[in-house]
Symmetry: C2
Subunit: 225 residues, 2 copies
């Protein structure tokens, strides 16, 4: 049997039932009586809940649409592949030799599915309270501080409180430009407070760009206190 201790260390979780980690790592091409598709089904649902709840609590003023949009930016094949790579999951996956030659070990769909399956397996064995901190730690370590700060903090609300107290007005955001094709558009947004601009920032949505430029304005205003 392989040694999963390095993977378990990256996860911060030790499986009691080693058959469960094996099932979670087994791609359907490996032609065993089991594969990781059922655990992936479970993992997908539990990841959706964990990230959803986290955003719900972090953004008390965001509406359902905003929460859904931010969640969708994290809970998808690209996002899970990134987390799978962080814990070097590809090294442990069981795939057929054909899939091996076909670079299956680095394919986004295979890595993302295995990541979901591993999360489903931990949930199955130890429940939501055990899995939650593991998922949040992986997200926190993967997304660099600035991105995560922008994504998870409500700078717009914080800034508004500052400007209302100091200037008796609220910030204005203007879309300066947008770049790229429709499926991966970026926006550049400027910020204006009391008829003065405090900078520009780019983001993958108008909301993210606004959050980023609000952060810039907060830093400037706090520096001039």
């Amino acid at each position: 049997m392989s040694d999963y201790s390095k993977l378990e260390k990256c996860l911060g979780y030790q499986f009691n039932d080693k058959n469960l980690i094996i099932e979670a790592l087994t791609h359907k091409s490996f032609k065993k009586p089991y594969n990781n598709e059922r655990l992936e089904f479970l993992g997908d649902a539990v990841l959706n809940l964990i990230v959803g709840e986290f955003l719900f609590l972090k953004f008390p003023k965001s509406n359902e649409g905003e929460l859904s949009k931010i969640r969708a930016s994290l809970v998808n094949e690209t996002g899970f592949t990134r987390l799978a790579n962080d814990i070097k999951l590809g090294e442990y996956i069981f795939i057929s030799s054909a899939e091996e030659r076909n670079k299956g070990r680095t394919k986004a769909s295979i890595l993302s599915d295995a990541f979901e399956a591993i999360m489903g397996a931990i949930y199955l064995e130890s429940g939501l309270s055990a899995l939650k901190p593991i998922v949040l730690k992986l997200l926190d370590e993967s997304y660099d501080k600035i991105n995560l700060d922008v994504l998870f903090s409500d700078y717009k609300t914080a800034l508004q409180e500052i400007t209302q107290a100091r200037f008796g007005s609220i910030p204005e955001y203007k879309i300066e430009a947008s770049f790229g094709p429709d499926h991966k558009k970026e926006f550049e947004v400027s910020i204006w407070i009391d008829e003065q601009t405090y900078g520009k920032a780019k983001g993958k949505s108008k909301k993210l760009a606004q959050q980023a430029v609000a952060k810039i304005a907060i830093d400037i205003l706090k520096g001039s206190e």
Copy 2:
């Protein structure tokens, strides 16, 4: 303040924080600083997990696609409206008078959203272990015994074990007919064991029809033991 004790009795759950049940019952048309959309976001995710996990455990031999299909037949606007009606949720919802005149209290989208929000509120206040039995009890009470038996039990597997022991062969299922338009097709399936037919049954998918006819065959074979 209204009296929610009847609703809480139907749910089998008493809210500690009455503001939470009020938020969950408040449709956006009611024009309060809060409405039930955020709780609905949370409820949607947690219902998806609870039903998914239930099916995962009940159908150990079903693959991801089958589990997804069965879940989709329960976790949707029609299904949640049905559960909302079972607990008479419409009587408690806060909606605008315009929405009231517009029969909002009986609209599927409004009822379904409020049901999800109530489930989200229970999850938020008391966690997954408190919510799970509530959801499963509501499902169990709403779907009549036969439907639920067919949906939640793996008759095909049970039958296969019986026929292998008794005849040394496995059952064959034949699609006899399909009815209705694409978006609500029904299938009729017959069952053959050892070159003899044991009956026909209809279902909303081939899988459900097969399960139903497998149940018929089991009853016949068990009667002749």
